[in-house]
Amino acid sequence: MRNPLLKRFARELRSDFGKYATIFILLTLSISFVSGFLVADNSMIMTYNESFEKYNVEDGHFRVRNALNKGQIRRIEKQGITLFENYYKDTPFDNSTTIRIFAERTDVNLVCLMNGSFPEKTDEIAIDRMFADNNGIRTGDTLVSMGKTWHVSGLVALSDYSTMFENNNDMMFDSVRFGTAIVTAEAFDLLPEASLRYCYAWKYHQPPADADAEHDLSEELMGHINSVSPMEEYVPRYMNHAIMFTGDDMGSDKVMMEFLLYIIIVIVAFVFRITIRDTVVKEASVIGSLRAAGYTKSELIRHYMAMPVAVTLFSAAVGNVLGYTWMKKICADLYYDSYSLPTYVTRYNPEAFVKTTLVPVMIMAAVTYFSLQTVMRLPVIRFLRNDLSSRKNRKAVRLPHGMPFVQRFHLRILLQNKGNYLILALGIFFANVLLMFGMALPQSLTDYENSIKDNMLCRYQYLLQLPASAADDTHRLESMMNMMMYAQKMETDNPDAEKFTAYALKTYDVPNCREEEIMFYGIIDSSRYIHQELQADDFFVSSAMADKYMIREGDTFSFKESYGDKTYTFTVTGIYPYEGAVAVFMDQQAMNRIFDLGENTFSGYFSNSEITDIDEACISTVIDEESLTKVSRQLMVSFGGMMYMVDGFSVIIFIVLIYILSKIIIERNTQSISMIKILGCSDREVRTLYMHLTSIVTVFLMAATIPAVYYVLLWIIRIMLRTMMSGWMPLDISFKTMAGMAALGWISYGAVALSESRKIRKIPMEEALKNVE
């Protein structure tokens, strides 16, 4: 015979459909989102990893001033590598973008066609899919560059440009202004010669055994190539951001997503804990009778656990189906917004199944089991006497006699439901964290972009470099001549230009922080651009750096060489107000001395006007408004879509929690409400007694948690930025954003309150006369 208690489940579901439906929606959405994310993330990573072989991605590339002849190629290839021409032409387009155009590829760094077709005619171009998305370009559209019209034949992903780093030295990529494309070999030849870059990709015949071996091999190779032909750029694959950044970055959001899911599960588990406890109190005498009749504790615990666990399991099943179908696409699109990845194939992810199905069910089972275990431990007699209070000699809290009736009544409800209100507070806090994240981040990005524009050190910073060819250990005399020649080419007549020394060191030994390259500026005396007189022993950090690493004057900070073991420790003597970068400012002479750079060395210019008289080969990077705002622009592109999802999600959490908890409060008092109706209270008066408190508490919590949320979010974002990315962005949340958050929360509550007041109206007076045994 089947246990007749099982028949209760369907009826329980029907009679409390609202509660289970809302919890189901919340759980299903969370699980589907996380499941979709994990599946997309895993599939993407696998596709990305496989792309190295599938698309025969280079082991590195170098650029030379002139094309290599056959002899030179043979000499270089003797080092155990095969060279492939990977020439490109950076071409400006009329929509203020630059596209790096390559000729069609057949051997190395192969191209994944994602839409349309490869170019066949000289006026056809296949552009990067992400660049096209970010600029609203579709297959069939036309693009204009220097008077020539190009027809977009298709959208592609170049396997050596999964991230759009224009230069390998760039702090951040910019997939809005910079893209890649391929054209036919014939069309490539027709492009202006001036922009032609002689880039060669290489593949090792015998791939190095490990990272150390690869490093040694590439160092050796660099010297050799340089001796064959002077280089302008040398980038082994492991140092190529355009290829490697994607792999490093993907997966770092995973922990956050899982954390989000588990917080929601725990909140829902505690909601269930309250409802179960309520049901047990309501059914105490029934439970007592069943126990008296011989039902075991574990049979009853299983019975009351079944619904929450079943709802979670069902939500997990539906969530996973949605995750694998609908959400996976949304999450994959989030990656496609940031990275130019080839078309992915969905892979079954057992980890996602465990984390989105087994773990939530286990959390739910554990929380409900332990709460039931606690209450079921009470003797049967206590159930029969309807006495489940955990405290002996329970007494009513004394309230002052002079207190007005309604206030006393509200306080009694508050005390009766303190557990509910606590969960409500936690839920509102959590939803507000999400909401603030969703609403404040876009605002912060915009504010940050504006503040950068207003607070630049100067309009242009030129970072200079000696071309790789200038240094040649084997031909010392030639090398010295080269250096002198380039030193000449680095001088400018621009009156705005001011020399500075630039040097980069990596942060060293900073706990819980991603290692990051910090730019050191050596500033001349009486600088026009840095308004701080720096003495020989001064060490100023930018306000962005002070904020990121929580540095104060007098603190010490350590750095190490990027390619060496030498470490440096400095004592901070001041903070320079500059939000544009995590940077250090020192006296130029002192800096040159400390880093052994030579007394008159300089490596960059500050200028408020463009410098046009320096050899382009000597310019490594130009830091201007566009490059400084790349970070915020890219973050907006990457996270913009996600922010709106997060907003919607927080509103759902608001509604679900407020709905369930206020429903419990009203249900708990159904008989009393019915009784006071009999006594003559109007619906409005009942609402005053039973709903106003929840309204006051909810409205209060929604506003009061915002300051706490602000600090928690600052802490979370600080940890995220410190551990996940280079650079810094101050989080500034305006009053308008906060007011918007509170308003959104109140509107959500308004919707719930309306439905609950209807429920109060429907409570019949007979309720008080029924079942009073």
């Binding site: 126990r291 009749a293 011989g294």
Partner: protein
């Protein structure tokens, strides 16, 4: 002896709040006997019944059923004991609100390896036409009959009734008493009924009067009166 209680003592509270509810109760019952525990409110009747039922433990003394000592049983064994031997009827019916009459009765049947036939029992209880109703659709008497059905469907050795007619009117009370009498006679269950209604003693084999936690007297009733003929 089927059931034996030896010097049962029970107190609640501590120090100045201590109340001695049972002060040394000893009694015996044979299989199939009908016992009535009489006494005023606070005399310890319900506490004694709960101790026999294994849902409360005495401070001292021993309850033995078929030579098995309840004091030596742990929580699991006590549950098994109740499951196997006992049927419980309360003054409050304690029915499961979202199960029908039939299903509420089946809740008892599920516990037994050899339950009575549900249809026959519904017929005996006069609930056949109400079997698909839920408790809130029933009168008090019908609810109590359902509770009785739930208690006796597992064919218990002992039926413990705690004021089963306490919340019912005269006519319904007699119906319930007749039913309990039938269970006692037809199925041979030992019935121990707590009541403060003096008239009910006439249907019992043994009348035990309690006062202030002690047995005032035990009377054997040789001239049992059928429930039908009881008047109060």
């Amino acid at each position: 002896m089927f059931l034996e209680l030896r010097d049962i003592k029970k107190a609640y509270g501590e120090k100045e709040n201590r109340t001695d509810v049972l002060k040394g109760i000893s009694l015996q019952a044979e299989k199939g006997e009908f016992l009535v525990l009489l006494g005023s409110s606070g005399s310890g009747k319900s506490t004694l019944l709960n101790i026999i039922g294994g849902i409360d433990r005495p401070d001292s003394g021993e309850v033995m059923i078929q030579n098995e000592k309840l004091s030596q049983m742990n929580e699991k064994q006590l549950t098994r004991y109740r499951r196997k031997h006992l049927g419980y009827i309360f003054q409050l019916y304690n029915l499961i609100p979202n199960l029908t009459v039939r299903e509420n009765i089946e809740v008892g049947a599920w516990l037994s390896s050899d339950p009575l036939d549900t249809d026959t029992l519904l017929d005996v209880l006069g609930l056949t036409e109400h079997q698909d109703k839920i408790p809130s659709q029933l009168s008090g008497g019908q609810q109590q009959r359902t509770a009785i059905g739930r208690a006796i469907i597992k064919n218990p050795d002992i039926l413990l009734c705690d004021e089963p007619t306490g919340a019912l009117d005269y006519r319904t009370s007699k119906e319930i008493l007749k039913l309990i009498e039938t269970v006692n006679q037809k199925y041979g269950s030992t019935v121990i009924m707590v009541t403060h209604n003096d008239a009910i003693r006439l249907m019992a084999d043994k009348i035990i009067r309690l006062r202030d936690g002690m047995i005032r007297d035990i009377t054997m009733n040789d001239q049992k009166v059928p429930a039908e003929k009881l008047e109060w």
